[in-house]
Protein backbone atom coordinates (compact mmCIF):
# COMPACT_ATOMS: atom_id res chain seq x y z
CA UNK A 1 0.00 0.00 0.00
CA UNK A 2 2.69 2.44 1.06
CA UNK A 3 4.98 1.57 -1.84
CA UNK A 4 2.07 1.71 -4.29
CA UNK A 5 1.29 5.22 -3.16
CA UNK A 6 4.83 6.50 -3.39
CA UNK A 7 5.04 4.86 -6.83
CA UNK A 8 1.93 6.78 -7.90
CA UNK A 9 3.41 9.98 -6.55
CA UNK A 10 6.69 9.42 -8.36
CA UNK A 11 4.82 8.70 -11.58
CA UNK A 12 2.72 11.84 -11.30
CA UNK A 13 5.82 13.87 -10.56
CA UNK A 14 7.52 12.43 -13.61
CA UNK A 15 4.55 13.28 -15.84
CA UNK A 16 4.55 16.77 -14.41
CA UNK A 17 8.21 17.29 -15.16
CA UNK A 18 7.94 15.94 -18.68
CA UNK A 19 4.78 17.89 -19.47
CA UNK A 20 6.14 21.20 -18.30
CA UNK A 21 9.78 20.95 -19.17
CA UNK A 22 9.48 19.24 -22.50
CA UNK A 23 8.12 22.04 -24.72
CA UNK A 24 10.83 24.36 -23.49
CA UNK A 25 13.54 21.75 -23.69
CA UNK A 26 12.39 20.77 -27.16
CA UNK A 27 12.70 24.36 -28.37
CA UNK A 28 16.20 24.53 -26.97
CA UNK A 29 17.12 21.25 -28.69
CA UNK A 30 15.63 22.39 -31.98
CA UNK A 31 17.61 25.59 -31.85
CA UNK A 32 20.78 23.51 -32.05
CA UNK A 33 19.55 21.40 -34.98
CA UNK A 34 19.83 21.75 -38.67
CA UNK A 35 16.67 22.33 -40.65
CA UNK A 36 16.65 18.67 -41.77
CA UNK A 37 17.03 17.38 -38.24
CA UNK A 38 14.05 19.43 -37.11
CA UNK A 39 11.88 18.18 -39.92
CA UNK A 40 12.91 14.57 -39.37
CA UNK A 41 10.25 12.00 -38.68
CA UNK A 42 10.21 10.51 -36.10
CA UNK A 43 11.49 13.49 -34.06
CA UNK A 44 15.21 13.26 -33.40
CA UNK A 45 16.42 13.37 -29.83
CA UNK A 46 20.01 12.65 -30.68
CA UNK A 47 21.69 14.68 -33.33
CA UNK A 48 24.82 16.59 -34.07
CA UNK A 49 24.37 20.01 -32.45
CA UNK A 50 25.15 23.07 -34.52
CA UNK A 51 25.23 26.77 -33.80
CA UNK A 52 24.25 27.57 -37.38
CA UNK A 53 20.79 28.83 -36.41
CA UNK A 54 22.17 31.16 -33.75
CA UNK A 55 24.85 32.42 -36.10
CA UNK A 56 22.24 33.23 -38.69
CA UNK A 57 19.80 34.77 -36.22
CA UNK A 58 22.39 36.94 -34.50
CA UNK A 59 24.72 37.92 -37.31
CA UNK A 60 22.89 36.99 -40.50
CA UNK A 61 20.98 39.23 -42.86
CA UNK A 62 17.91 39.13 -40.62
CA UNK A 63 19.78 39.68 -37.37
CA UNK A 64 17.48 40.07 -34.38
CA UNK A 65 20.07 41.94 -32.36
CA UNK A 66 18.34 45.27 -33.04
CA UNK A 67 15.12 43.67 -31.82
CA UNK A 68 16.74 42.38 -28.64
CA UNK A 69 18.02 45.92 -28.13
CA UNK A 70 14.50 47.19 -28.74
CA UNK A 71 13.08 44.82 -26.16
CA UNK A 72 15.67 45.94 -23.63
CA UNK A 73 15.04 49.63 -24.25
CA UNK A 74 11.31 49.16 -23.84
CA UNK A 75 11.62 46.99 -20.73
CA UNK A 76 14.26 49.07 -18.99
CA UNK A 77 12.53 52.33 -19.90
CA UNK A 78 9.23 51.03 -18.57
CA UNK A 79 10.88 49.75 -15.41
CA UNK A 80 12.69 52.98 -14.61
CA UNK A 81 9.71 55.21 -15.27
CA UNK A 82 7.37 52.89 -13.36
CA UNK A 83 9.59 52.76 -10.30
CA UNK A 84 10.10 56.54 -10.23
CA UNK A 85 6.36 57.02 -10.16
CA UNK A 86 5.39 53.99 -8.06
CA UNK A 87 7.78 54.26 -5.11
CA UNK A 88 6.61 57.68 -3.81
CA UNK A 89 2.97 56.82 -4.46
CA UNK A 90 3.22 53.46 -2.72
CA UNK A 91 4.95 55.07 0.24
CA UNK A 92 2.18 57.64 0.57
CA UNK A 93 -0.53 54.98 0.31
CA UNK A 94 1.16 52.68 2.79
CA UNK A 95 2.33 55.14 5.39
CA UNK A 96 0.79 58.56 5.32
CA UNK A 97 -2.54 59.78 6.57
CA UNK A 98 -4.27 60.71 3.35
CA UNK A 99 -8.00 61.22 3.21
CA UNK A 100 -9.57 59.04 0.55
CA UNK A 101 -6.77 56.49 0.76
CA UNK A 102 -9.18 53.60 0.39
CA UNK A 103 -10.75 55.30 -2.58
CA UNK A 104 -7.32 55.71 -4.15
CA UNK A 105 -6.54 52.04 -3.60
CA UNK A 106 -9.84 51.04 -5.09
CA UNK A 107 -9.26 53.28 -8.08
CA UNK A 108 -5.94 51.60 -8.79
CA UNK A 109 -7.64 48.22 -8.64
CA UNK A 110 -10.51 49.35 -10.80
CA UNK A 111 -8.23 50.61 -13.57
CA UNK A 112 -7.23 47.00 -14.06
CA UNK A 113 -10.73 45.95 -15.03
CA UNK A 114 -10.34 47.74 -18.33
CA UNK A 115 -9.27 45.17 -20.95
CA UNK A 116 -6.02 46.07 -22.73
CA UNK A 117 -7.80 46.00 -26.06
CA UNK A 118 -9.97 48.83 -24.74
CA UNK A 119 -6.87 50.86 -23.95
CA UNK A 120 -5.08 50.29 -27.21
CA UNK A 121 -7.91 51.43 -29.50
CA UNK A 122 -8.02 55.00 -28.17
CA UNK A 123 -4.25 55.11 -27.71
CA UNK A 124 -3.72 54.01 -31.26
CA UNK A 125 -5.72 57.04 -32.44
CA UNK A 126 -3.94 59.43 -30.09
CA UNK A 127 -0.42 58.22 -30.93
CA UNK A 128 -1.18 58.24 -34.63
CA UNK A 129 -2.33 61.85 -34.36
CA UNK A 130 0.73 63.07 -32.51
CA UNK A 131 3.06 60.97 -34.62
CA UNK A 132 4.22 58.68 -31.81
CA UNK A 133 3.50 55.40 -33.54
CA UNK A 134 6.60 53.24 -33.65
CA UNK A 135 8.35 55.32 -30.96
CA UNK A 136 9.77 54.23 -27.64
CA UNK A 137 8.05 56.96 -25.69
CA UNK A 138 4.66 55.91 -27.12
CA UNK A 139 5.00 52.28 -26.13
CA UNK A 140 6.63 52.95 -22.74
CA UNK A 141 3.91 55.36 -21.67
CA UNK A 142 1.15 52.94 -22.50
CA UNK A 143 2.98 50.15 -20.65
CA UNK A 144 2.46 52.24 -17.52
CA UNK A 145 -1.22 51.29 -17.72
CA UNK A 146 -0.42 47.81 -16.43
CA UNK A 147 3.01 48.17 -14.83
CA UNK A 148 2.22 51.12 -12.59
CA UNK A 149 -0.78 49.71 -10.65
CA UNK A 150 1.08 46.45 -10.22
CA UNK A 151 4.25 48.15 -8.96
CA UNK A 152 2.31 50.41 -6.60
CA UNK A 153 0.48 47.48 -5.01
CA UNK A 154 3.57 45.35 -4.66
CA UNK A 155 5.56 48.22 -3.16
CA UNK A 156 2.73 49.08 -0.76
CA UNK A 157 2.98 45.57 0.66
CA UNK A 158 6.70 46.04 1.28
CA UNK A 159 6.34 49.51 2.79
CA UNK A 160 3.67 48.20 5.14
CA UNK A 161 6.17 45.78 6.64
CA UNK A 162 8.25 48.62 8.09
CA UNK A 163 7.38 49.64 11.65
CA UNK A 164 5.93 53.12 12.07
CA UNK A 165 8.52 54.02 14.69
CA UNK A 166 11.09 54.32 11.89
CA UNK A 167 9.63 57.58 10.64
CA UNK A 168 9.04 58.78 14.16
CA UNK A 169 12.57 58.04 15.28
CA UNK A 170 13.92 59.80 12.21
CA UNK A 171 11.71 62.81 12.87
CA UNK A 172 12.91 63.04 16.46
CA UNK A 173 16.47 62.71 15.18
CA UNK A 174 15.90 65.82 13.13
CA UNK A 175 15.30 64.36 9.66
CA UNK A 176 12.78 65.96 7.32
CA UNK A 177 10.19 63.94 5.43
CA UNK A 178 12.17 63.54 2.23
CA UNK A 179 15.37 62.76 4.10
CA UNK A 180 13.48 60.15 6.09
CA UNK A 181 12.10 58.59 2.94
CA UNK A 182 15.46 58.56 1.20
CA UNK A 183 17.78 57.68 4.08
CA UNK A 184 15.63 55.55 6.37
CA UNK A 185 12.73 54.01 4.47
CA UNK A 186 13.98 53.30 0.94
CA UNK A 187 17.08 51.39 2.13
CA UNK A 188 14.79 49.09 4.08
CA UNK A 189 12.70 48.13 1.05
CA UNK A 190 15.64 47.50 -1.26
CA UNK A 191 14.67 43.86 -1.52
CA UNK A 192 11.09 44.76 -2.37
CA UNK A 193 12.26 47.21 -4.99
CA UNK A 194 14.43 44.51 -6.56
CA UNK A 195 11.49 42.09 -6.73
CA UNK A 196 9.21 44.76 -8.17
CA UNK A 197 11.81 45.68 -10.77
CA UNK A 198 12.06 42.04 -11.84
CA UNK A 199 8.30 41.76 -12.29
CA UNK A 200 7.85 45.04 -14.10
CA UNK A 201 10.70 44.09 -16.42
CA UNK A 202 9.16 40.65 -17.05
CA UNK A 203 5.76 42.07 -17.84
CA UNK A 204 7.18 44.68 -20.18
CA UNK A 205 9.41 42.15 -21.93
CA UNK A 206 6.50 39.75 -22.43
CA UNK A 207 3.83 42.23 -23.47
CA UNK A 208 2.40 41.51 -26.89
CA UNK A 209 -0.93 43.18 -27.70
CA UNK A 210 0.26 46.78 -27.41
CA UNK A 211 3.50 45.88 -29.16
CA UNK A 212 1.66 44.34 -32.11
CA UNK A 213 -0.31 47.52 -32.66
CA UNK A 214 2.34 50.12 -31.92
CA UNK A 215 5.54 48.58 -33.25
CA UNK A 216 7.03 49.34 -36.63
CA UNK A 217 10.45 49.39 -38.13
CA UNK A 218 12.09 51.37 -35.33
CA UNK A 219 10.48 49.83 -32.30
CA UNK A 220 10.27 46.12 -32.91
CA UNK A 221 10.71 43.88 -29.85
CA UNK A 222 11.76 40.23 -30.21
CA UNK A 223 8.24 38.95 -29.59
CA UNK A 224 7.16 40.71 -32.76
CA UNK A 225 10.36 40.13 -34.71
CA UNK A 226 10.05 36.36 -34.44
CA UNK A 227 7.39 36.55 -37.12
CA UNK A 228 10.18 37.47 -39.53
CA UNK A 229 11.01 33.80 -39.60
CA UNK A 230 7.47 32.65 -40.25
CA UNK A 231 5.94 33.47 -43.59
CA UNK A 232 3.39 31.98 -45.88
CA UNK A 233 6.03 30.59 -48.21
CA UNK A 234 8.31 29.05 -45.66
CA UNK A 235 9.17 28.83 -42.01
CA UNK A 236 12.80 28.88 -40.94
CA UNK A 237 12.33 26.37 -38.13
CA UNK A 238 15.78 26.29 -36.63
CA UNK A 239 16.10 30.05 -36.63
CA UNK A 240 12.63 30.40 -35.12
CA UNK A 241 13.71 28.06 -32.33
CA UNK A 242 16.88 30.08 -31.77
CA UNK A 243 14.92 33.34 -31.58
CA UNK A 244 12.47 31.79 -29.12
CA UNK A 245 15.32 30.67 -26.90
CA UNK A 246 16.94 34.11 -27.06
CA UNK A 247 13.65 35.74 -26.13
CA UNK A 248 13.17 33.31 -23.23
CA UNK A 249 16.65 33.73 -21.83
CA UNK A 250 16.38 37.05 -19.90
CA UNK A 251 13.02 36.27 -18.32
CA UNK A 252 14.01 32.76 -17.33
CA UNK A 253 17.18 34.05 -15.70
CA UNK A 254 15.25 36.74 -13.83
CA UNK A 255 12.50 34.30 -12.88
CA UNK A 256 14.95 31.82 -11.40
CA UNK A 257 16.80 34.57 -9.53
CA UNK A 258 13.55 35.86 -8.06
CA UNK A 259 12.00 32.45 -7.51
CA UNK A 260 11.65 32.88 -3.74
CA UNK A 261 9.47 35.94 -4.24
CA UNK A 262 7.57 34.88 -7.29
CA UNK A 263 4.40 33.73 -5.54
CA UNK A 264 4.04 37.03 -3.71
CA UNK A 265 4.70 38.97 -6.88
CA UNK A 266 2.28 36.93 -8.92
CA UNK A 267 -0.56 37.05 -6.43
CA UNK A 268 -0.28 40.75 -5.71
CA UNK A 269 0.21 41.43 -9.36
CA UNK A 270 -2.58 39.31 -10.65
CA UNK A 271 -5.24 40.27 -8.12
CA UNK A 272 -4.27 43.79 -8.78
CA UNK A 273 -3.69 43.49 -12.43
CA UNK A 274 -0.13 42.79 -13.46
CA UNK A 275 -0.38 39.22 -14.69
CA UNK A 276 -2.26 40.37 -17.73
CA UNK A 277 -0.52 40.44 -21.02
Amino acid sequence: MKTLRSLAISLAVLVFIIAWVFPILWSVLNSFKTEQDILAYPPKFFFEPTLAAYREVLFGSQSILPNVWSSFVISIGTTVLTMILAIPAAYALARLRVPGKRGAGFYILATQMLPPVGIIIPYFLVLRNIGWMDTYQGIIIIYLSFSLPFAIWLMVSYFEDIPFEMEEAAAVDGAGRLTTLWRIIIPQVKGGIAVTVVFVFLNAWNEFLFAVVLSGNTVRPVTIAMFNFVSVEQTLWAQLAAVSVIAMLPVVVLGVIAQQHIVKGLTVGAVKGGGRR
Binding site: V172, D173, R183
Partner: protein
Protein backbone atom coordinates in the same frame (compact mmCIF):
# COMPACT_ATOMS: atom_id res chain seq x y z
CA UNK B 1 23.31 79.15 31.29
CA UNK B 2 20.26 78.30 33.35
CA UNK B 3 19.32 74.68 33.74
CA UNK B 4 17.80 73.26 30.56
CA UNK B 5 14.93 70.90 30.41
CA UNK B 6 12.04 72.75 31.94
CA UNK B 7 8.76 71.52 30.51
CA UNK B 8 5.42 73.18 30.95
CA UNK B 9 2.23 71.67 29.65
CA UNK B 10 -0.82 73.90 29.68
CA UNK B 11 -4.40 72.65 29.19
CA UNK B 12 -3.29 70.25 26.51
CA UNK B 13 -6.03 68.18 24.89
CA UNK B 14 -5.96 65.85 21.94
CA UNK B 15 -9.04 64.76 20.05
CA UNK B 16 -9.15 62.07 17.41
CA UNK B 17 -12.29 63.11 15.62
CA UNK B 18 -14.86 63.19 18.39
CA UNK B 19 -12.89 60.87 20.64
CA UNK B 20 -10.76 62.50 23.30
CA UNK B 21 -7.43 60.75 23.80
CA UNK B 22 -6.40 63.46 26.19
CA UNK B 23 -8.97 65.65 27.92
CA UNK B 24 -6.83 68.56 28.96
CA UNK B 25 -3.78 68.11 31.17
CA UNK B 26 -1.54 70.57 33.00
CA UNK B 27 1.81 69.88 34.54
CA UNK B 28 5.29 71.23 35.09
CA UNK B 29 8.49 69.27 34.90
CA UNK B 30 11.50 70.77 36.61
CA UNK B 31 14.95 70.74 35.03
CA UNK B 32 16.83 67.54 35.82
CA UNK B 33 13.78 65.80 37.12
CA UNK B 34 12.91 62.17 36.38
CA UNK B 35 9.20 62.42 35.66
CA UNK B 36 7.08 59.34 35.08
CA UNK B 37 3.81 59.23 33.18
CA UNK B 38 2.07 56.24 34.68
CA UNK B 39 -1.23 54.73 33.70
CA UNK B 40 -3.00 51.78 32.11
CA UNK B 41 -3.03 51.46 28.33
CA UNK B 42 -5.30 53.96 26.63
CA UNK B 43 -5.04 56.37 29.54
CA UNK B 44 -3.35 59.13 27.55
CA UNK B 45 0.22 58.78 28.81
CA UNK B 46 1.68 57.79 25.46
CA UNK B 47 -0.35 60.47 23.73
CA UNK B 48 1.19 63.00 26.09
CA UNK B 49 4.70 61.77 25.32
CA UNK B 50 4.06 61.95 21.57
CA UNK B 51 2.81 65.49 21.99
CA UNK B 52 5.98 66.38 23.89
CA UNK B 53 8.08 64.85 21.12
CA UNK B 54 6.16 66.72 18.46
CA UNK B 55 5.13 63.49 16.71
CA UNK B 56 1.52 64.57 17.19
CA UNK B 57 0.16 68.04 17.73
CA UNK B 58 -2.38 68.94 20.41
CA UNK B 59 -5.87 70.00 19.49
CA UNK B 60 -5.77 72.55 22.30
CA UNK B 61 -3.31 73.93 24.77
CA UNK B 62 0.35 74.88 24.80
CA UNK B 63 3.62 73.14 25.38
CA UNK B 64 6.63 75.15 26.52
CA UNK B 65 10.26 74.05 26.72
CA UNK B 66 12.40 76.38 28.85
CA UNK B 67 9.78 79.05 28.50
CA UNK B 68 9.62 78.82 24.71
CA UNK B 69 6.35 77.84 23.07
CA UNK B 70 7.08 74.77 20.96
CA UNK B 71 3.48 73.70 20.35
CA UNK B 72 3.70 74.29 16.61
CA UNK B 73 7.17 72.82 16.13
CA UNK B 74 7.56 69.52 14.32
CA UNK B 75 9.52 66.73 15.94
CA UNK B 76 12.48 67.40 13.69
CA UNK B 77 12.86 70.93 15.03
CA UNK B 78 12.27 70.28 18.73
CA UNK B 79 15.65 68.96 19.70
CA UNK B 80 14.42 66.33 22.11
CA UNK B 81 15.89 62.85 22.46
CA UNK B 82 13.59 59.87 22.49
CA UNK B 83 13.94 56.16 23.18
CA UNK B 84 11.17 54.09 21.63
CA UNK B 85 9.60 51.01 23.09
CA UNK B 86 10.70 49.01 20.05
CA UNK B 87 14.00 50.97 20.01
CA UNK B 88 13.35 51.86 16.33
CA UNK B 89 16.96 51.30 15.37
CA UNK B 90 17.61 51.72 11.66
CA UNK B 91 18.26 48.14 10.56
CA UNK B 92 20.28 49.02 7.48
CA UNK B 93 22.80 51.12 9.40
CA UNK B 94 25.59 50.06 11.73
CA UNK B 95 25.39 50.99 15.39
CA UNK B 96 27.85 53.79 14.69
CA UNK B 97 25.72 55.16 11.86
CA UNK B 98 22.61 54.85 14.00
CA UNK B 99 24.13 56.89 16.79
CA UNK B 100 25.58 59.40 14.36
CA UNK B 101 22.32 59.94 12.49
CA UNK B 102 20.89 62.75 14.68
CA UNK B 103 24.26 64.54 14.52
CA UNK B 104 24.37 64.12 10.78
CA UNK B 105 20.93 65.68 10.54
CA UNK B 106 22.17 68.58 12.64
CA UNK B 107 25.11 68.95 10.22
CA UNK B 108 27.72 68.36 12.92
CA UNK B 109 31.32 68.46 11.63
CA UNK B 110 32.81 65.02 10.91
CA UNK B 111 35.53 65.02 13.54
CA UNK B 112 33.26 66.21 16.30
CA UNK B 113 30.68 63.66 15.22
CA UNK B 114 33.09 60.73 15.54
CA UNK B 115 34.15 61.92 18.97
CA UNK B 116 30.63 62.33 20.27
CA UNK B 117 29.54 58.95 18.92
CA UNK B 118 32.41 57.25 20.71
CA UNK B 119 31.61 59.18 23.83
CA UNK B 120 27.92 58.26 23.81
CA UNK B 121 28.74 54.62 23.13
CA UNK B 122 31.19 54.57 26.04
CA UNK B 123 28.55 55.94 28.39
CA UNK B 124 26.35 52.91 27.74
CA UNK B 125 29.28 50.48 27.30
CA UNK B 126 28.70 49.49 23.70
CA UNK B 127 31.90 50.94 22.20
CA UNK B 128 32.93 47.42 21.09
CA UNK B 129 29.72 47.01 19.08
CA UNK B 130 29.90 50.11 16.92
CA UNK B 131 30.44 48.30 13.64
CA UNK B 132 27.66 45.77 14.06
CA UNK B 133 24.19 46.09 12.72
CA UNK B 134 21.15 46.18 15.02
CA UNK B 135 20.09 42.72 13.83
CA UNK B 136 23.32 41.29 15.27
CA UNK B 137 22.70 42.68 18.76
CA UNK B 138 20.89 41.18 21.72
CA UNK B 139 17.80 42.92 23.08
CA UNK B 140 19.77 44.58 25.85
CA UNK B 141 22.45 45.80 23.46
CA UNK B 142 19.82 47.20 21.11
CA UNK B 143 18.32 49.06 24.02
CA UNK B 144 21.71 50.57 24.83
CA UNK B 145 22.21 51.53 21.24
CA UNK B 146 18.87 53.36 21.32
CA UNK B 147 19.98 55.10 24.51
CA UNK B 148 23.26 56.12 22.91
CA UNK B 149 21.41 57.58 19.95
CA UNK B 150 19.47 59.68 22.44
CA UNK B 151 22.49 60.67 24.55
CA UNK B 152 24.55 61.81 21.59
CA UNK B 153 22.18 64.70 20.96
CA UNK B 154 23.05 66.40 24.27
CA UNK B 155 19.46 67.43 24.37
CA UNK B 156 18.10 68.74 27.64
CA UNK B 157 15.01 66.55 27.43
CA UNK B 158 14.83 62.78 27.22
CA UNK B 159 11.59 61.08 26.31
CA UNK B 160 11.42 57.40 27.14
CA UNK B 161 8.50 55.28 25.93
CA UNK B 162 8.42 52.10 28.02
CA UNK B 163 12.08 51.52 27.22
CA UNK B 164 12.39 48.49 29.49
CA UNK B 165 9.28 46.59 28.49
CA UNK B 166 11.02 44.49 25.82
CA UNK B 167 13.74 43.24 28.14
CA UNK B 168 13.54 40.07 30.18
CA UNK B 169 12.82 40.41 33.88
CA UNK B 170 16.38 40.16 35.17
CA UNK B 171 17.86 42.57 32.64
CA UNK B 172 15.01 44.97 33.30
CA UNK B 173 15.99 45.32 36.95
CA UNK B 174 19.65 45.92 36.10
CA UNK B 175 18.87 48.42 33.36
CA UNK B 176 16.42 50.26 35.56
CA UNK B 177 19.13 51.16 38.05
CA UNK B 178 21.56 52.06 35.27
CA UNK B 179 19.03 54.27 33.58
CA UNK B 180 18.53 56.28 36.73
CA UNK B 181 22.30 56.69 37.21
CA UNK B 182 22.72 57.71 33.61
CA UNK B 183 20.01 60.34 33.88
CA UNK B 184 21.60 61.77 37.02
CA UNK B 185 25.07 61.91 35.51
CA UNK B 186 23.82 63.57 32.32
CA UNK B 187 21.76 65.99 34.35
CA UNK B 188 18.93 65.87 31.83
CA UNK B 189 15.21 65.98 32.33
CA UNK B 190 13.61 62.60 31.64
CA UNK B 191 9.98 61.93 30.88
CA UNK B 192 9.29 58.26 31.25
CA UNK B 193 6.12 56.51 30.11
CA UNK B 194 5.25 53.23 31.77
CA UNK B 195 2.28 51.12 32.71
CA UNK B 196 4.33 49.38 35.37
CA UNK B 197 3.70 51.14 38.67
CA UNK B 198 6.72 49.49 40.26
CA UNK B 199 8.99 51.01 37.60
CA UNK B 200 7.47 54.43 38.19
CA UNK B 201 7.79 54.12 41.94
CA UNK B 202 11.45 53.13 41.80
CA UNK B 203 12.65 55.49 39.07
CA UNK B 204 10.67 58.67 39.27
CA UNK B 205 11.33 61.82 41.23
CA UNK B 206 7.74 62.70 40.56
CA UNK B 207 5.00 61.07 38.61
CA UNK B 208 1.66 61.81 37.01
CA UNK B 209 -0.95 59.09 37.14
CA UNK B 210 -3.10 59.03 33.99
CA UNK B 211 -6.56 57.53 33.71
CA UNK B 212 -9.14 57.93 30.98
CA UNK B 213 -7.31 60.80 29.33
CA UNK B 214 -6.80 62.79 32.50
CA UNK B 215 -4.13 63.21 35.11
CA UNK B 216 -5.63 61.97 38.36
CA UNK B 217 -2.72 62.68 40.66
CA UNK B 218 0.71 64.26 40.51
CA UNK B 219 3.32 63.84 43.20
CA UNK B 220 6.39 62.02 44.33
CA UNK B 221 6.07 58.23 44.37
CA UNK B 222 6.07 58.27 48.15
CA UNK B 223 3.23 60.79 48.26
CA UNK B 224 1.11 58.97 45.73
CA UNK B 225 1.71 55.66 47.45
CA UNK B 226 1.00 57.03 50.92
CA UNK B 227 -1.98 59.19 50.03
CA UNK B 228 -3.73 58.05 46.86
CA UNK B 229 -6.40 60.65 46.20
CA UNK B 230 -9.00 58.31 44.76
CA UNK B 231 -10.18 54.72 44.75
CA UNK B 232 -8.90 54.24 41.18
CA UNK B 233 -5.38 55.28 42.07
CA UNK B 234 -5.41 53.30 45.30
CA UNK B 235 -6.33 50.23 43.28
CA UNK B 236 -3.70 50.90 40.61
CA UNK B 237 -0.63 51.57 42.71
CA UNK B 238 0.96 48.89 44.85
CA UNK B 239 1.34 45.20 44.25
CA UNK B 240 -0.71 43.34 45.15
CA UNK B 241 -3.17 46.26 45.02
CA UNK B 242 -4.75 47.85 48.06
CA UNK B 243 -7.69 45.97 49.56
CA UNK B 244 -10.85 47.98 49.06
CA UNK B 245 -13.74 47.08 51.35
CA UNK B 246 -17.25 48.47 51.48
CA UNK B 247 -18.17 50.19 54.72
CA UNK B 248 -20.41 52.96 55.94
CA UNK B 249 -20.13 56.00 58.18
CA UNK B 250 -21.91 56.18 61.48
CA UNK B 251 -21.68 59.63 63.03
CA UNK B 252 -18.33 60.20 61.35
CA UNK B 253 -16.92 56.85 62.34
CA UNK B 254 -16.34 54.25 59.64
CA UNK B 255 -17.97 50.90 60.34
CA UNK B 256 -16.47 47.86 58.64
CA UNK B 257 -18.07 44.45 58.88
CA UNK B 258 -20.13 45.71 61.81
CA UNK B 259 -17.15 47.02 63.73
CA UNK B 260 -16.26 50.68 64.20
CA UNK B 261 -12.77 51.62 63.11
CA UNK B 262 -10.61 53.76 65.39
CA UNK B 263 -10.73 57.02 63.45
CA UNK B 264 -13.20 59.74 62.47
CA UNK B 265 -13.92 61.90 59.45
CA UNK B 266 -15.75 65.18 59.07
CA UNK B 267 -18.52 63.69 57.01
CA UNK B 268 -21.24 62.24 59.18
CA UNK B 269 -22.95 59.44 57.21
CA UNK B 270 -22.87 57.62 53.89
CA UNK B 271 -21.36 54.74 52.01
CA UNK B 272 -17.59 54.65 52.00
CA UNK B 273 -14.73 52.40 50.94
CA UNK B 274 -12.00 51.40 53.35
CA UNK B 275 -8.60 50.74 51.83
CA UNK B 276 -5.77 48.84 53.48
CA UNK B 277 -2.58 47.69 51.78
CA UNK B 278 -1.89 43.95 52.00
CA UNK B 279 1.37 44.64 53.82
CA UNK B 280 -0.47 46.58 56.51
CA UNK B 281 -2.72 43.70 57.45
CA UNK B 282 -1.70 41.57 60.36
CA UNK B 283 -3.02 38.03 60.59
CA UNK B 284 -3.27 36.69 64.09
CA UNK B 285 -5.63 35.69 66.86
CA UNK B 286 -7.14 39.08 67.48
CA UNK B 287 -9.22 41.19 65.22
CA UNK B 288 -11.93 40.56 62.69
CA UNK B 289 -12.63 36.95 61.67
CA UNK B 290 -11.47 35.73 58.31
CA UNK B 291 -10.63 32.43 56.64
CA UNK B 292 -7.49 31.53 54.67
CA UNK B 293 -8.52 30.48 51.14
CA UNK B 294 -5.20 30.32 49.37
CA UNK B 295 -1.54 30.75 50.21
CA UNK B 296 0.71 32.12 47.46
CA UNK B 297 4.15 31.12 48.55
CA UNK B 298 6.76 33.64 47.36
CA UNK B 299 9.66 32.05 49.18
CA UNK B 300 10.68 34.55 51.80
CA UNK B 301 7.15 35.88 52.17
CA UNK B 302 3.64 34.95 51.16
CA UNK B 303 0.38 36.45 50.06
CA UNK B 304 -2.67 35.12 51.80
CA UNK B 305 -6.05 35.27 50.10
CA UNK B 306 -8.63 35.60 52.83
CA UNK B 307 -12.42 35.47 52.90
CA UNK B 308 -13.55 38.44 54.87
CA UNK B 309 -16.97 39.97 55.20
CA UNK B 310 -18.18 38.18 52.08
CA UNK B 311 -15.31 39.41 49.97
CA UNK B 312 -11.65 38.82 49.23
CA UNK B 313 -8.88 40.42 51.24
CA UNK B 314 -5.22 39.86 50.55
CA UNK B 315 -2.53 40.12 53.17
CA UNK B 316 1.23 39.87 52.92
CA UNK B 317 2.94 37.94 55.67
CA UNK B 318 6.56 36.97 56.33
CA UNK B 319 6.06 33.24 56.86
CA UNK B 320 4.42 31.17 54.12
CA UNK B 321 3.87 28.31 56.52
CA UNK B 322 2.31 30.37 59.32
CA UNK B 323 -1.24 29.63 58.23
CA UNK B 324 -2.81 26.76 56.33
CA UNK B 325 -5.48 26.96 53.70
CA UNK B 326 -8.91 26.61 55.29
CA UNK B 327 -7.74 27.89 58.65
CA UNK B 328 -9.90 30.39 60.58
CA UNK B 329 -7.89 33.48 61.52
CA UNK B 330 -8.37 37.06 62.59
CA UNK B 331 -7.08 40.16 60.85
CA UNK B 332 -6.27 43.60 62.14
CA UNK B 333 -4.64 46.83 60.96
CA UNK B 334 -3.48 50.15 62.42
CA UNK B 335 -5.51 53.31 62.13
CA UNK B 336 -2.61 55.04 60.32
CA UNK B 337 -2.74 52.46 57.57
CA UNK B 338 -6.40 53.03 56.80
CA UNK B 339 -7.38 54.96 53.67
CA UNK B 340 -10.96 56.16 53.39
CA UNK B 341 -12.77 57.01 50.18
CA UNK B 342 -16.22 58.25 49.39
CA UNK B 343 -18.01 55.37 47.69
CA UNK B 344 -20.01 57.56 45.33
CA UNK B 345 -17.36 60.02 44.11
CA UNK B 346 -14.30 57.88 44.70
CA UNK B 347 -12.50 60.79 46.37
CA UNK B 348 -10.24 60.38 49.34
CA UNK B 349 -11.71 61.30 52.75
CA UNK B 350 -9.25 62.78 55.21
CA UNK B 351 -9.31 61.57 58.79
CA UNK B 352 -10.27 64.35 61.13
Amino acid sequence: MTARGHVKVEKVAKLHGQVAALKGVDFDIRPGEFFALLGPSGSGKSTTLRLLAGLDKPTRGRILFDGKDVTALDAQHRDVAMVFQSYALYPHMTVRQNIAFPLEMAKTPKTEMAERVEDAARKVSIQHLLDRRPGQLSGGQQQRCALARAIVRRSGLFLLDEPLSNLDAKLRLETRAELKKLQRSLGVTAVYVTHDQEEALTLADRMAVFMEGEIRQIGSPAEVFARPNSIDIAGFIGSPPMNLMKARLDNGTPVLAGRPLPLRVKQQAGEIVVGVRPSAITIGEEGMPARVDLVENLGDNAIFDLSFDGGLVRARGPDPLAFAEGQQVAISFDAKDIHLFDAASGHRLEAA
